[in-house]
Amino acid sequence: MIAETSRPHRVALFITCLGDLFYPQVGEATVRLLRRAGLTVGFPRRQTCCGQPAYNSGFHHVTRQLAEHFVNVFDNAEYIVTPFGSCAALVKNEYPHLFDDDPKLRERVEALGRRTYELTSFLVDVLGMDDFGATFAARATYHDGCHAYRGLGIYDAPRRLLAHVRGLDLFEMGSPVWCCGFGGTFSVRMPDTSGAILEEKIRRIQATGADVVVSTEFGCMMNIAGGLARRGLPLRVIHLASILAGDVR
C-alpha cells in the first residue's frame, strides 16, 4: 500500500477505557498482531478515557480537558492504533472542533488525528496485511459500528480480514450497518428506546443463523452481548482481533 521507507515502525496502543476495563484480552491480542506485523508497540501508561461520554452529553469543556490530556499522552507517538473504532472517530473527527478558538493547538490535534487509526483499517489500509493465518471454525456475522462505518468509512477492511480466517463462514445480516442502539450515554438516558433498537439488531443477527457475532466496537459488544445474555441466547460476541490472534476456538 505504501512505500517501504514510510512503513510504520512504532505504534502506540490506545486501549480505550472500555477496552482496558472490560476487554483486556483484546488489548493483548492487538499487541500480538501488531508485533507480528513487525512493529514495536508502546503503551503510554497515563492514558485513560477519550471523553466521549462527556462529548455526547454536551459537556465540551470537559471533553476538551480530556482531549488535551490525550494530546499530552500521545503527542510523541508515530502512530496511534486502537481496537475501538468509535474512539478513533472521536479523536479524528470531533477533537478538532473543540479547539476552534486555538488554531495552533487545533493543528496539533488534527495532526494527531491523522496518525490515529482503528485497528482493522490500520492493518489492511496502512500495512497492507489481511491474512494473519488464523483458523476459527464458526458461522459468523459481522456488526459494523456506526462511527467506524459512517465516521471513518470502514467497511471492507474487517471483511477482508475475516475472509482469510480458515473455517470461518460469514453470513451477513440485513443491513449490518444499522445501529445496535448503544449510542454511549444514549443507552442509559433512553434505555427503553435503546433496548428496542437492540431488539431489532438481535432479530437481524438471529436471522443469519450465526453462532458468533464479530465486531471491533467495545460499546456495541457490551450492548449486544448484554442483550443476548438477557434473552438466554447462546451466541458469542467476539472482537475481530481475538479471532485474528488465534485466541478463540
Binding site: I15, C17, G19, D20, L21, F22, P24, Q25, G27, E28, F43, R45, R46, T48, C49, G51, P53, A54, N56, S57, G58, F59, H60, H61, V62, T63, Q65, L66, H69, C146, H147, R150, G151, W178, C179, G181, F182, G183, G184, F186, S187, V188, R189, M190, P191, D192, T193, S194, G195, A196, I197, L198, E200, M222, N223, A225, G226, G227, A229, R230
Partner: protein, 464 residues
C-alpha cells in the same frame, strides 16, 4: 406539554405491535425505493449542488424573498408578511372573513400544522377540511401527523374504517377500494362547496414568483384551482432563486422522500385566474411566515433551514423507526424535528429531544441537502449542558465536571475502576450483571452488564 419523558412515551409506542409493524413496513419500503431511485442519478453531485442552492437562498434571504414577493404581486397575488403563528392565523382568518368564506379546503402543509391554523379558522366559525387522504384521516381521528409524508401511517385500514364509520355514522367495511371510493365521494363534495382553498408550498420560486406544490393525489389542484379564493402559506426558508435550481431540488426531493422519480402532480402556480382563462381562483393571497425561522440565521442552526421536508432522515433513523412520531411530542419529528423544535422553540422545554439519537449518523448520510444533523444535535446538547441557566440537572453537571478532572488523574482512574469492580461483584451472576443499582440500573433495564475484568489491560501490560 406533557410531563412524561421521551423514553416513557417511547414505551407505549414500542409496546404497540400494530404501530411497530406499520413503521417497519412503511419505512423499509421508503428506504428501498429511495436507494433505487437515487441509484439512477449522480447523487453526491446533486446533493452538493442542492446544498449550494439552499445556502445561496438562505444567505441572501431578504433579497430572494423580496424578489419572490414582488414577482408574485406582479402576477396578481396579494402578499402578506407574518412574523409569527398568531399573525399568520389572524391574516388567514381576516382573508376568509373579508371574502365571506365559511368553508375551507386544505392541501397538506406542515407549516399550517405548525401554526395551528385549523384551530384558528374553526374558532372563527369557519369549517376546515384536510384533503390529503392521510391528513384527512388524522383530522377525523383528532390526531397529529405521525410522519411528515405518511401522517396516518400509524393507523391500520381497520382503524381507518372505524374512523370513517364514526364520522359518517354508517357501517364502513375495511376493504381499500370501498374506503377509497368513500373518501373520494366525500372529498369531491367538499372541493366543490369550498369558497377558499389553503395550501403550503414546497418551494417559492423567486425568479417568477411561482408557488410550487408536489402531491400524489391531485388534491392540491382542487384546493388551489376550484374555490373563489386561494391562500398559499409559505415559510420564509422555502425560497429558491431560479428555475434551474428548482430542477435540481425536484430531482432530489421525490427520490429522497418516497423513492419516486417525480410526484404524480407538480403544481406551478403563477397567481389567480387571468382575463380569458377558464379556471383558477378569483383572488390569490400569499402569506409569508417567519415564526422563529429568522432567529436561526447566522447561528450554527442556520443549515437546518435548508430542509426540504423529504423525511429521508426519519426513514433511516433507528430511533424514529422504534418510537414513531408521537413520542417526539412535536410537529416536526425524527432527527430534523429533534433539531428544529428545540432550536426554534427553545431548549428549556425541549432539551430532551437532541438526546433522542444514538448519533449513528445515518441521517447525515441520507439528507439530500447535506444538513449535518448529528453536529446540530451535539451543538444543542452543548448549549443545554453549558448554558446559563441550564435545563440539565445539577447532579449530571457536577458528575461530568468531576469526571473531567478525575479521568486525567491516572491513579484516580485506576482507583475508581477498582472500586467499581468490587462494588459490581456482589451483583454478578455467572459473570454477568442482570441487575445493577442506580445509575447502572438504567443499563440493566434493557440488557445485562458485563463484570469488570479482574486484571485490566494496564496491569497485564507490565508482564508483556
Amino acid at each position: 406539554m406533557s410531563k412524561t419523558t421521551f423514553d416513557e412515551r417511547a414505551r407505549s409506542a414500542i409496546a404497540d405491535e400494530t404501530l411497530q409493524r406499520a413503521l417497519a413496513r412503511v419505512l423499509n419500503r421508503f428506504r428501498v425505493d429511495r436507494d433505487i431511485a437515487l441509484g439512477e442519478v449522480d447523487t453526491l453531485r446533486l446533493r452538493q449542488r442542492a446544498r449550494e442552492i439552499r445556502d445561496e437562498a438562505l444567505s441572501h434571504l431578504d433579497q430572494y424573498l423580496a424578489q419572490f414577493a414582488d414577482n408574485a404581486a406582479r402576477n396578481g397575488a396579494v402578499v402578506h408578511w407574518a412574523a409569527d403563528a398568531a399573525e399568520a392565523n389572524r391574516i388567514a382568518v381576516e382573508i376568509a372573513q373579508s371574502h365571506s368564506v365559511t368553508r375551507v379546503t386544505k392541501a397538506k402543509s406542515m407549516l399550517t400544522e405548525e401554526i395551528g391554523l385549523n384551530h384558528a379558522l374553526e374558532a372563527a366559525g369557519i369549517s376546515v377540511v384536510e384533503t390529503d387522504l392521510g391528513e384527512w384521516i388524522i383530522q377525523l381521528a383528532g390526531q397529529r401527523p405521525a410522519h411528515i409524508l405518511g401522517p396516518a401511517l400509524n393507523l391500520t385500514r381497520t382503524q381507518v374504517a372505524q374512523v370513517f364509520a364514526r364520522h359518517l355514522g354508517v357501517f364502513v367495511p375495511d376493504d381499500i377500494p370501498t374506503m377509497t371510493a368513500l373518501a373520494r365521494r366525500e372529498l369531491r363534495a367538499k372541493f366543490l362547496e369550498a369558497e377558499m382553498g389553503i395550501s403550503g408550498a414546497n418551494f417559492a420560486l423567486a425568479e417568477t414568483g411561482t408557488v410550487v406544490l408536489l402531491t400524489n393525489e391531485g388534491n392540491a389542484r382542487f384546493v388551489t384551482g376550484l374555490p373563489r379564493v386561494y391562500v398559499a402559506m409559505v415559510g420564509i426558508e422555502k425560497v429558491v432563486p431560479t428555475w434551474q435550481d428548482l430542477a435540481v431540488l425536484l430531482t432530489l426531493l421525490p427520490r429522497s422522500a418516497t423513492g419516486q422519480r417525480i410526484t404524480t402532480y407538480v403544481n406551478l402556480i403563477n397567481g389567480p385566474r387571468r382575463v380569458g382563462e377558464a379556471d383558477g381562483p378569483d383572488k390569490m393571497h400569499l402569506i409569508i411566515v417567519d415564526n422563529g425561522r429568522s432567529g436561526l440565521l447566522g447561528t450554527p442552526y442556520q443549515e437546518a433551514l435548508r430542509c426540504i421536508r423529504c423525511s429521508a432522515c426519519l426513514n433511516v433513523c433507528p430511533v424514529y423507526q422504534e418510537v414513531g412520531g408521537f413520542t417526539y411530542n412535536a410537529v416536526y419529528v425524527g432527527p430534523i424535528g429533534a433539531v428544529l423544535t428545540p432550536a426554534i422553540q427553545g431548549l428549556a422545554r425541549y432539551h430532551e429531544l437532541p438526546h433522542a439519537s444514538s448519533l449513528c449518523f445515518a441521517c447525515r448520510e441520507a439528507c439530500p441537502v447535506m444538513i449535518d444533523l448529528p453536529r446540530l444535535l451535539l451543538e444543542l446538547r452543548r448549549q443545554a449542558a453549558e448554558g446559563q441557566p441550564s435545563p440539565i440537572g445539577w447532579m449530571e453537571r457536577l458528575g461530568f465536571r468531576l469526571f473531567g478532572w478525575g479521568a486525567r488523574q491516572t491513579w484516580l482512574y485506576e482507583l475508581a475502576a477498582k472500586i467499581g469492580r468490587f462494588a459490581l461483584r456482589r451483583f454478578a451472576r455467572d459473570g454477568r450483571v442482570p441487575f445493577a443499582p442506580f445509575p447502572l440500573s438504567r443499563w440493566t433495564r434493557a440488557r445485562d452488564f458485563p463484570v469488570l475484568d479482574p486484571r485490566p489491560f494496564r496491569e497485564r501490560w507490565k508482564s508483556q
